[in-house]
Amino acid sequence: MELIATHGLNFLYAFATLALVVLGLAVVFGLLGVMNMAHGEFVMIGAYSALAVQQAGLPFLFAIPAAIAVCVVIGWLVEWGLVRHLYKRPFDTLLATWGLAILMREVVEAIFGREYQSVDQVLPGTFSLAGVEYPAYRVVLMGIIAVLFGALFAWYQRSNAGARVKAMVQNPALAAAMGIDTERLARWTFVFGVTTAGLAGVLLSPLVRVEPFMGLDYLLSSFFILVVGGLGSLEGLIVGSGVIGGTDIFLSALFDKTSGYLGVLTISIVFLWLRPNGIVSRL
């Protein structure tokens, strides 16, 4: 019984953190059509922001403004120097951001070194939940993510911001006629996307390994979540995170981790093949 409850909580945790990490890619890929292969590297930048704050002897919370500042600057520069030239060339954005990812890894390595870093636990100890001792910080993190997404949903429903961004980026003539600066809109959308990735990095940093190559962990699963769920909608992101996280946890619990991994790949292939618009598709 306790085992099942643990697996259940593990599912919720995987679900929440996947959704958090994918959010930025959903914005950048779903709304702008940019396959940002450096997405994981922005998560890494967030984690290293937390590390830098720790090394400076400041409290963990300072990492949040630090990561926002760093990601906004880098995101702005990347959009201005790289991505904006490639909006009509999806495969080229994929390649260029792959190069960017290598560049970001190497620069971080030059500054912080190749070695594994440890960001201190924020809330050590466990918390009793549904009869299970569960890490306290994870419980808090799930709460934060739930609140974040709740707020996002409320705002999103009201403003329908996603659809507007998408329509404008895809139809600059119309947007221009309405007096909207699409270039600026696209730039800040990109910056917003990579900044949420950075924030995810900050929040996850006490839990995960921190090293220059860590971004690769988040990249591919993020793409699979997006295509399984459906591009361009918050619901799709939630459903995708649930399906991918659920498949992994369920198969890993039932059999082993390799089955979970193969299951995620297989389900991604099947969805990409049979339902490329995802579960929550908007025609």
């Binding site: 306790e2 085992l3 643990t6 697996h7 593990n10 945790y13 995987a14 190749r114 070695e115 594994y116 870093q117 440890s118 960001v119 201190d120 636990q121 050590p124 100890g125 466990t126 001792e133 569960y134 890490p135 910080y137 994870r138 839990l207 995960v208 390994r209 921190v210 090293e211 190559f213 860590m214 690769l216 962990d217 591919l220 992994d248 946890i249 890993s252 619990a253 082993d256 981790k257 390799t258 979970g260 991994y261």
Partner: protein
């Protein structure tokens, strides 16, 4: 200087053989420096160990050269990056061998690269493979320094059983040869202590979520975990392990948890974590201390942290020197003939070669915050059957 004593001792054989080598020594002297190809990862995930490997190699080269070199010739190390896939490593090694004229090789890299290199060298050039590995390498001209699973576990598992009460083991590793072979060996030693294996799982390299494994570890009531996850996976697993509050009740033993991995795991997550290896930076013997002091003196306090993998390159260079001395030549065939019984003293203690492997001292260390404290030393442990 006192701290150099052990090197002098280990190298005296070399010098003597050069001096008594007569015409051979003279000819070798005329041939200029011995170029030794040093194949270490400088890029890719294992690139983490590049700087310490390079430093340790350099340290050994300086000392051997100061004592007269190999067969009277000075050593000139040529470093190459083998952090990529085997095909890239082959290119790099071939460049050193055929292009730059390297006469011997020292390699600190994964087994896939080793397979490519033994195929490349085909016993025509001496090749010393230094890191921890799964055992079984018996190619001509190849000499292995690294700890084999039986070396690490034969003493460590009984120690864990009698001192930490480890009886129900959960085995977790990455899905490849080394963890599988290590666990195969482990099962025998666990059975020998009357313990049982309650779970065994191998994870793909890309996995970064260990929650289901942790749930199973808790559910099976395991009281010890044998960890053969590598690098980042080991860091992630151990952090999650501690955050679930398992650390106090379940002992962890790793056979590739070195100083960098421990730093990534973090001081607060390292309670009740043990590591079995042939070297730790904190080994408290005169030779190990003197080695660490020299390392800091030469490369500074901020240099890449000492660890078993990096340090193995130092021993690799020592072994090359004594093998060449005993064989009286740098030919792989001569070394093959002379290898058995070759011994040397290094920071790790004494080592004696048989069957292309070395028997040596093994240390069991417990994590104490972000550093290791050696709590048991097992003298002269054999490498097991490798060339059956």
């Amino acid at each position: 200087m006192k701290r150099r004593d052990f090197v002098k001792a280990s190298i005296s054989a070399t010098v003597v053989s050069v001096l008594t080598g007569g015409s051979f020594g003279a000819r070798a002297l005329a041939a200029g420096p011995v170029k030794v190809g040093v194949l270490i990862p400088l890029s890719g995930p294992a690139g983490l160990f590049g700087p310490s490997s390079r430093n340790c190699t350099q340290l050994a080269v300086d000392e051997i050269n100061a004592a007269g070199g190999i067969l009277g010739r000075q050593i000139e190390p040529i470093f190459a990056d083998v952090g990529g896939p085997p095909a890239d490593a082959t290119q790099a090694a071939l460049q050193l061998w055929k292009g730059d004229g390297a006469e011997a090789f020292i390699g600190m890299h994964d087994s896939a690269v080793r397979g490519a290199l033994t195929n490349l060298f085909k016993g025509q050039v001496p090749y010393i493979y230094t890191p921890v590995y799964e055992g079984g390498e018996c190619s001509a001209g190849t000499f292995v320094l690294g700890e084999t699973p039986s070396q690490q576990l034969e003493p460590a598992i009984p120690w864990m059983a009698s001192n930490k009460g480890a009886s129900k083991w959960y085995l977790i590793g990455n899905d490849y040869n080394w963890p599988r072979d290590t666990n195969a060996a482990a099962k025998g030693y666990i059975a020998g202590t009357g313990g049982e294996v309650v779970g065994e799982e191998y994870l793909p390299f890309t996995v970064d979520n260990f929650d289901s494994n942790l749930a199973k570890i808790k559910d099976t009531g395991a009281d010890a975990v044998l960890i053969t996850l590598v690098g980042g996976a080991s860091v992630g697993f151990n952090r999650a392990f501690a955050s679930f509050g398992l650390a106090d009740d379940v002992a962890r033993l790793g056979t590739l948890i070195e100083e960098n991995t421990l730093a990534g795991i973090g001081a607060e997550n390292s309670v009740n974590l043990f590591s079995s290896a042939g070297y730790f930076a904190s080994i408290d013997t005169p030779s190990a201390r003197s080695f660490a002091e020299k390392y800091v003196a030469k490369f500074g306090a901020d240099a890449a942290a000492l660890n078993a993998l990096g340090q193995s390159c130092y021993d690799g260079m020592l072994l090359l020197a004594v093998l060449a001395a005993k064989a009286g030549s740098l030919s792989a065939a001569d070394m093959d003939a002379a290898a058995d019984g070759t011994s040397y003293e290094g920071p790790r203690g004494g080592a004696t070669m048989s069957d292309r492997h070395v028997s040596k001292d093994i240390y069991l260390a417990e994590a104490d915050g972000a550093a290791f404290k050696v709590i048991a030393t097992f003298a002269d442990v054999g490498a097991g059957d490798n060339c059956a």
